[in-house]
Amino acid sequence: MRAPRLPSERAYTLASAALFPVLGLFVALPLAGAFMPLFRGDGAFDNLGRAFGDARFLGSFGFGLGQALASAVLALLVGLPGAYLLGRKKFPGKRLLSALAVVPFCVPPLIVALGFVLYYGKDGFLNRALMAIFSLDSPPLDFLYSFWGVVLAHGFYNFPLVMSMAGDAWSGIRRDTEDAARLLGAGRVRTFVTVTLPGILPAAGAAFTLTFLMCFFSFTIVLLFGGPGVGTPEVELYRAARFDLDRPLASAFALVESAVALLALYAYARLERRVSGRRTDAARREAAVPFRGPAGVAGAVVYGLLVLVAFLGPLAAVAGESLVVRSAKYGPGNLGLGNYLALFSSPSFVRAAGNTLALGLGSALLAALIGFALSLALKRTRSPFLASVLPLSPLALSSVVLAYGWSSVVGTATPLTLAAVQAVSAYPFILKGIQGALGSSDERLADAALALGSSRLGAVFRVRLPLAAPALLSGFAFAFAISAGDANALIAAPVPGYETLALKLYQLAGSYRFNEACAAATLLGLAVSLVFFLKDGRHAIA
């Protein structure tokens, strides 16, 4: 549906013209920086040939793809029962279950890693509990530091994403269609396969692809739990750039990694479009109903326990351990607030907290500006490719690639390049929020404002910006949370003398001042979830 040519058209042309410099500065420049070293030495083909001839290069992609696929499958298996519960059932604790959706975004992977060692480690809570209950001599669980350790950490970390996205779709499937199928003689299984499954598949597929992408780009968890042997391309890129000082190899990793991710993203964009198509069909949500039989209740209770033990356990372990104070570095401990006191009395911690706040606000501001500018510019893009893939393309660019790119462009990273990296990782979520919030009514309101004599800029400020405001604000909170929890960009391209809470946490955990690390993690987790819930950033995800 094309609008008649109104004066506002020119405003859009101007805004579209803004699209390219914005994307150029924040995406193309660091990308060019990341790929340029490939042309050094004997040229791009020779460098790529050398990379592909290296067993470690292909091994790394094999490992990266394998673990990401297995992790996404696990997230799907754990997430789908939850999606059913969220989409169809009414039960106490439902809000809590749906609130878990923020975890993959706002709990930094470092905290998850810390929680996994404390909880699933050989001397962890779960192993000690199992040894006590079944009077065993040796710890029964030993899966960390292997392929499966990485997969379990990823799968459990990301299942809420599947649960939330597929749950949304599930509640949109009309019950009367299912009832009709049953009346026409289809059995329960057939009804599920022919009616229900096609309804949730696109959403589940989109969630699967998103999880796959997030696990493919996983950095910290693989760095800590990867076991001996090669790491994911993300980790190997970091090692090649920082320790082997082999920039052409690092660039080969960056290039191939981004290409693989772009393919996955294309699949995501296609699935996502099918999901939004369905969403408008089924604007009416089906009312959730309570459980009917004891079997259903039992199933739900088992599922709840699984989530509690396997997923919330490690996070609770972090909070619990933060209250244990140890006198010597590796000695026994007592309960107390000493770790928190130690943190607050350290000037570097206070400085790191200030930096986190400043960097988070800066990144979120940049992300909001990029998101808003792109939402205006993309409104009348005629190419469906631009409209669907371009705004999401940062999902295919990891923060390690971007940080590496910036550091080869500017020499050394600065807080501003950090903010630029984090803003690019966060803006797709803001953009999606704004695009969702601005329906076609926006056009008519803006045109009306113009017809009534408002200037073009006035229309942007008085009509478009206020309409986008709620989505912008939750996106802002979301971007802040992402920035505050992100340590990857800083680990991959350190800024000398500049620390944030997430980096501090990485260093504390790295030097195994576990209890202080747990205290820092608890504070960071609380602060981030607070920001998130204040603005109900969940809307930014769905």
Partner: protein, 348 residues
């Protein structure tokens, strides 16, 4: 009416405006913070060190205070990961150095540092205090400050029968029992590699292949690996013969023991050098001199858990729990060329 409606912005809009303004202010703050971090505007001498050196339990706090007291110069120790990471960082920044001194280059990493030509030679005034067999570099690009021997540490409460040789480590009974460090990022990690190279020579990659099932993980740095070990994740870890002294000093002696292998133990000599392009060469030289002073040397045993380089420094009683290797291995760094890669390739 019309005039009023012009200013009738609704509340979310104002909220956005305020947020934007605030963030702009904060961004400016970030920028100015960055410039105040730049070393040449501040007087402090910047020394890159490895993490455990700078930590609260390490020599860092003692050294900082003593150096400032002795020389009146301000000292800032910046932790940049494990030893090999610190070196990589200094090489990375060679064109525009952000530090004046790099501390933590050991005998195994020295060739890398020398071929990157990052150090300025300086023979400290009190160089004679360094025993001749511990001198790292005859051109004094790097001045040694402590030394130790690598050894496997055994947790006697979690493992009944300790390995007796490097070869024993490959036995199936030690499956997933050994924590090593990544040789690319950590000096003990590289030290273990040097050890296997010295003992196995050209068969070294073969040994790593046999060792693979025993390795639980390659941690990025010594701190992480040793932390996992004391957390009970594995009963064996690569560390130093002096590590049991730590436990004897602060906990109880006996549980964690350094295993002495008949093949011999590689010696690690740690040093520091002045980075080329420093804007404070005088202060940097004062720091190198200070490393050999009694204040610095006496802090080493109980905070860095190594042997002081100056031989007549008094050792604390807990060092009796550090066993002496029967054979010391000195590994020629030249044979380590490419060893890192072949060992890591063997792990795939």
């Amino acid at each position: 009416m019309h005039a009023r409606s012009t200013f009738n912005f609704n509340r979310p809009f104002i909220a956005i405006l305020i947020t934007c303004l605030l963030s702009a202010v904060v961004l400016m703050g970030t920028l100015s913070c960055l410039s105040c971090d730049a070393p040449d505007q501040e007087g402090a001498l910047v020394v890159y060190v490895y993490d455990s050196f700078a930590s609260e339990w390490g020599p860092g706090p003692i050294v900082e205070e003593a150096f400032e007291k002795a020389t009146g110069l301000e000292l800032e120790l910046v932790a940049v990961g494990d030893g090999a990471q610190a070196l990589a960082r200094a090489i990375d920044e060679k064109a525009r150095p952000k530090a004046d001194v790099l501390l933590g280059v050991d005998n195994h990493l020295l060739p890398k540092a020398v071929s990157a030509d990052i150090f300025m030679p300086y023979r400290p005034e009190n160089a004679a205090l360094v025993p001749s067999d511990l001198v790292l570099d005859d051109q004094w690009r790097v001045t040694p400050f402590d030394w130790g021997s690598f050894a496997i540490i055994w947790d006697s409460e979690r493992l009944a029968e300790p390995p007796r040789t490097l070869e024993d480590l490959t036995k199936p009974e030690y499956e997933r029992s050994l924590i090593l460090m990544d040789p690319r990022t950590s000096t003990p990690g590289y030290g273990f590699l040097a050890w296997t190279k010295a003992v196995y020579g050209d068969d070294m990659p073969d040994y790593w292949q046999r060792l693979k099932p025993s390795i639980l993980t390659l941690s990025p740095g010594w701190d992480t690996g040793y932390g996992l070990f004391t957390k009970g994740e594995a009963p064996l870890v690569i560390s130093y013969t002096t590590s049991p002294a730590y436990h004897a000093e602060y906990e109880t002696a006996g549980r964690y023991q350094a295993l002495i292998f008949p093949e011999g133990h590689p010696v690690q000599i740690e040093g520091a050098g002045i980075l080329r392009g420093t804007s404070r060469p005088q202060a940097a030289k004062a720091f190198i001199d200070f490393m050999l002073s009694p204040e610095f040397q006496s802090a080493i045993p109980l905070s860095n858990w190594m042997y002081p380089i100056v031989a007549d420094t008094v050792l604390p009683a807990s060092f009796e729990h550090a066993p002496k290797p029967t054979t010391n291995l000195l590994v020629d760094p030249a044979v380590l060329e490419g060893a890192e890669r072949s060992a890591l390739d063997a792990l795939n």
